[in-house]
Symmetry: C2
Subunit: 332 residues, 2 copies
């Protein structure tokens, strides 16, 4: 028995055939070309799913269902994407459109929630009941897993942890609020912080590493320059980690997850990131040494989290519980 997982992104659509252990056995992707009509995008999603299944030599009859992870707010019951700004979707019947081409049950959820489900069940937080996954990229994606299930509130519009104000009255966020965590702790925010510092300190390594072209500064530039001892970059990184830790401490004080998973571009900083954050968090969280503490971990599924999480939407409670008991080799 197999499960199709489709990760609908603004640039690419990725799909994979996933087995009962949550392991991808075959995958592929196509460009989204998001300016097209949604009917065309969804037809291509179905064709991609069909092609992957054929390429894997698997019969459609052995496929249990299709899961779709999409940005935006879903109507879970009816498989409709109520709204997504980036794709220009409004009340798009994802399930009904896909079922025109594939006679299978279709599940839908938010893409960040799918990524959190994958990390929570078979990724960095496998084996625990409560986990939170934060993706530090262009924005801040977030998902909360409680008892092996996605928590997204009564209207399925949660959990927008990136849009939690941590700096009241601060920088304007894309959502319209001032001072959201995302406006301070996303990769985009770090780039802006580094660019501002580079402008003020023209002789810093930040500019040298990009041959003086300030637009080429990436999130990695700051960490690289800081590791090479550049004082300006060190300042940028320290301040950025501080902003990052503010949000992580909030999340721990609120959710007390057993594991807090960090993914996205920033997570490539690996153990350096975890160790630095851990130091700040230990001093800040509302807790006592008598009480077990949340573990910080790097995401382990990378870009596959979206596909796997979407596929996992169709797993029953029993299948999910079974997954968390037997440990799956991650890199096989």
């Amino acid at each position: 028995m197999y499960y199709l997982g489709i990760d609908l992104g603004g640039t690419n659509i990725a799909a994979g055939l996933v087995d009962i252990n949550g392991k991808i056995i075959h995958k592929g992707s196509i460009p989204t070309e998001k300016d097209r009509k949604h009917q065309e995008i969804l037809r291509d999603m179905a064709m991609l799913a069909r092609r992957i299944t054929e390429d894997a030599g698997v019969s459609l009859k052995t496929i249990e269902c299709i899961g779709v992870g999409s940005p935006g707010t879903p109507d879970l019951e009816n498989g409709i994407l109520i709204y997504n700004n980036n794709l220009g979707f409004r009340n798009v019947p994802i399930r009904a459109e896909l079922q025109k081409y594939l006679p299978l049950p279709v599940y839908l959820d938010n893409d960040a929630n799918c990524a959190a489900l994958a990390e929570g069940l078979i990724g960095a937080a496998e084996g625990v009941e409560h986990s939170v996954t934060i993706t530090l990229g262009t924005g801040i994606g977030s998902g909360v897993i409680i008892n092996h299930k996605i928590y997204s509130g009564f209207n399925n519009a949660g959990v927008e942890l990136g849009h939690m104000v941590t700096v009241a009255g601060g920088n304007l966020c894309t959502c319209g609020r001032k001072g959201c965590w995302e406006a301070y702790a996303s990769a985009t925010a770090l780039i802006k912080q580094a660019q501002a510092a580079a402008l003020e300190n023209q002789d810093s390594l930040l500019l040298q590493l990009v041959n003086g072209d300030i637009k080429k500064i990436t999130a990695k530039t700051s960490f690289d320059a800081a590791k090479q001892g550049d004082q300006v970059a060190k300042g940028v990184v320290q301040q950025y980690l501080r902003y990052l830790a503010d949000g992580f401490c909030n999340i721990i004080n609120i959710f007390q997850p057993e594991v807090l998973v960090i993914g996205g571009g920033i997570s490539k900083q690996g153990d350096y990131l975890i160790t630095s954050l851990q130091k700040i968090i230990e001093q800040e969280i509302y807790s006592r040494e008598e009480i077990p503490a949340t573990k910080l971990r790097l995401a382990s599924l990378d870009n596959d989290a979206g596909i796997v999480g979407a596929a996992l939407l169709g797993f029953t409670s029993e299948q999910r519980s079974a997954l968390t008991i037997k440990k799956i080799p991650r890199n096989s």
Copy 2:
């Protein structure tokens, strides 16, 4: 069948006999005298519970269990209070001590979580699956109810929504962090804000209402003076509501609860408070008109929430579900 609920506070211990509808049929209280040994406090709790039962003319045999709501972090499984600063408790075996005097099952949870359970099941959020209750008093108490159950994380130390930083690097909180919501939006914080404004504006109504004695300014003073048109007080209240809304918007963006309940001293401002907050929240939350929005409501159980919530700890899932279906008359 009856349930005993005990609300252990730093000043008083309140206990009540609760029926299967979550209604208090008899209650009473005694001073905590918290500087005593925990054994003595717990013996008095048991005696109070026994006396209430006798006074109500109810046989101990018809009592299903005892629930205790206590400040601090509980070990739910073993009925031990791991830590509470205010009472000076550390690994206090609440269950074992009470069972010396009363041969009944004993459940324990955090007092703010108990209050949220009561509001969520038979109070202001009755009939909904997801609710958050915030108590604005000396500090900020908080509890999250998901599917009729308390959510408190893997270590039962959540959800400390008052200790979410909303003003990074801001005022020092009692927890040691800077800029916690509690340091800006509790009743204590409002009093400090009003006192500072009164000091700077000696002719404001804030001071007149307390006959010039700045120490007598309460949370109510600011609202009273603002309603009477005092510009200084209006400024204080506006700024306070802004701080309050920052946290409420965060909670909505994160939890998307169907109902967000506001209790504690500040909630006595009633509809004025709700209407003012609603205006700010509508402009700020990360949502769309297509998606149903969280409702703000005033707590309806007042000081009884602690007792009722503690009693509800012993209710089975089925009993909890039954409660949310039949609507209980609140003031009978």
